[in-house]
């Protein structure tokens, strides 16, 4: 059973609809006992880091996520869910969960490409350069693009966990893989067929 962590942070229902479309059963919950019964956990989110962390702490979901990760079980981060598995976020000056060493940073205000000012948030479709293969990205065409909407980006301390990068004025980390974690800045649930493929792959993933 797939569990989607419900922590009052946005796009939970759109992730649920995408799972329904690929024929995957799931539960949506913030109850750690229910989460314990899952095989795979999706940690989505749209919103601000400060509020999200306050809610997670109140529900003890931060500690629960640490335990889940340490137990070697599959965890997928999406957007805000990816940003706050790092140690720290510049958004609201927030201490985060710390499953992956590093910080979430804001795009510089004068981000530019070829002399043209780039708009923030980074909103729209962009590609991901994969540095290596990963089971969750199997059968995703190399030229596929994904839907992004964010003003902050993850910046892991260990470049070895960065498996995908995206260009938006700067080259930033858009996919993280560390042991039983795979986490992405874009929204697979809003990225058409390639995104649905990623969700399908995750649901079948057995991290070794």
């Amino acid at each position: 059973m797939i569990a989607i962590i419900d922590y009052n942070a946005g796009n939970i229902t759109s992730v649920a609809r995408a799972l329904k479309d690929i024929g995957q059963e799931f539960i949506i919950t913030n109850d750690t006992k229910e989460l314990d019964t899952a095989s795979h956990v999706i940690f989505p989110g749209v919103g601000a880091a400060g509020e999200a962390m306050a809610y997670l702490r109140q529900k003890k979901l931060d500690d629960w996520l640490k335990k889940w990760f340490a137990a070697g079980k599959p965890l997928m981060g999406i957007c805000l869910g990816t940003q706050i598995i790092l140690d720290y976020s510049e958004e609201n000056d927030t201490t985060c969960i710390g499953l992956v060493a590093g910080a979430t940073k804001r795009f510089p205000d004068h981000t530019a490409s070829g002399g043209e000012r780039l708009k923030i948030p980074h909103m729209g479709w962009n590609s991901v350069k994969m540095r290596c293969s990963h089971p969750v990205f199997e059968n995703v065409p190399a030229g596929a693009e994904f839907y992004f909407v964010h003003s902050y980006y993850p910046s892991p301390a260990d470049s070895g966990v960065i498996i995908g990068t995206t260009d938006y004025g700067i080259s930033f980390c858009s996919v993280i893989a560390k042991d039983n974690i795979v986490a992405m800045q874009f929204h697979p649930e809003k990225s058409g067929r390639p995104g649905l493929q990623i969700l399908k792959n995750f649901c079948a993933w057995r991290p070794s």
Binding site: V46, L118, K119, P121, G124, V149, K190
Partner: protein
């Protein structure tokens, strides 16, 4: 780098498409959900629904459409038309839309932008602007004036000032419609689009006037738009979205080509 977005716009009244849309030989004036699915398959990057249902007691029909669309397509979509307050926004977002757009209601009550941005995040709030070219004056220095109520009411508000004000209030995106170009199929209003886009830090969707792929190329380069709204040119199947994207690729404009 980020791709330019191509966004079909569907007008819906009482849960039905208002313009005939021709797909694969069958003329269908029916179901907006089917039309959305077809454009999703064709490679639309996003879809805009505009609810022109006149009576407010029939608006629940649109909420049902939104719910069905959300189960059918897995790209972002926005809903505008008749959004007057935070409750209207919440109903549309809860039903599965990524974004809501406000137009006349935001002119009459600008606080709705700030309230929406606070409740749902700026990325959810699109400001729709209907603009008409006028003689530049003290009141309207840019020479472009905001009109509301479907183009019937002149407001005396300068379009450039309003775009900046909406950004300050927390709008995450602007959908900029030229009333002069709308429906003409002779090209977007490039001067207006470039002026707004260069003066705000949020994305601008150009709307009104698309008839040929060249028009999209122009507005995405000279017009500095981040995205282009299209209607008739795909509804009547003169072009498919993929044909438009291939043309843009030939002009060196990056769009999403794999889906």
């Amino acid at each position: 780098m980020i791709s330019k977005r191509i966004i079909p716009c569907l007008d819906v009244r009482d849960g039905k498409l208002t313009k005939g849309i021709k797909f694969k030989g069958n003329v269908d004036i029916g179901d907006p959900v089917e039309a959305a699915r077809e454009y999703y398959e064709q490679g639309a990057d996003e879809i805009v629904f505009y609810d022109i249902t006149a009576s407010s007691d029939r608006r629940d029909i649109m909420i049902d459409v939104v719910r069905r669309v959300a189960e059918t397509i897995f790209i972002p979509f926005s809903v505008g038309g008749g959004i007057r307050n935070l409750d209207d926004m919440r109903r549309v977002i809860d039903a599965g839309a990524e974004k809501v757009s406000v137009n006349s209601a935001a002119v009459e009550n600008p606080r709705i932008i700030a309230q929406g941005a606070r409740a749902f995040g700026s990325q959810c709030i699109v400001l729709g602007m209907d603009v008409k070219k006028v003689d530049a004056s003290g009141k309207v220095p840019s020479g472009y004036e905001i009109v509301i109520h479907g183009g019937r009411t002149y407001t005396g508000i300068d379009a450039l000032w309003w775009a900046k004000e909406a950004e300050r209030l927390g709008a995450g995106e602007i959908c900029l419609n030229s009333i002069d170009a709308d429906g003409m199929q002779t090209g977007y209003e490039l001067t207006l689009t470039a002026m707004i886009s260069e003066n705000v830090g949020i994305p601008v969707i150009a709307s009104g006037g698309a008839g040929k792929p060249e028009h999209l190329a122009d507005v995405l380069t000279k017009g500095k738009a981040d995205a282009a709204l299209i209607a008739s040119m795909v509804h009547y199947r003169t072009y498919t979205i993929f044909e438009i994207k291939q043309y843009l690729a030939g002009r060196g404009i990056k769009t999403r080509l794999f889906w």
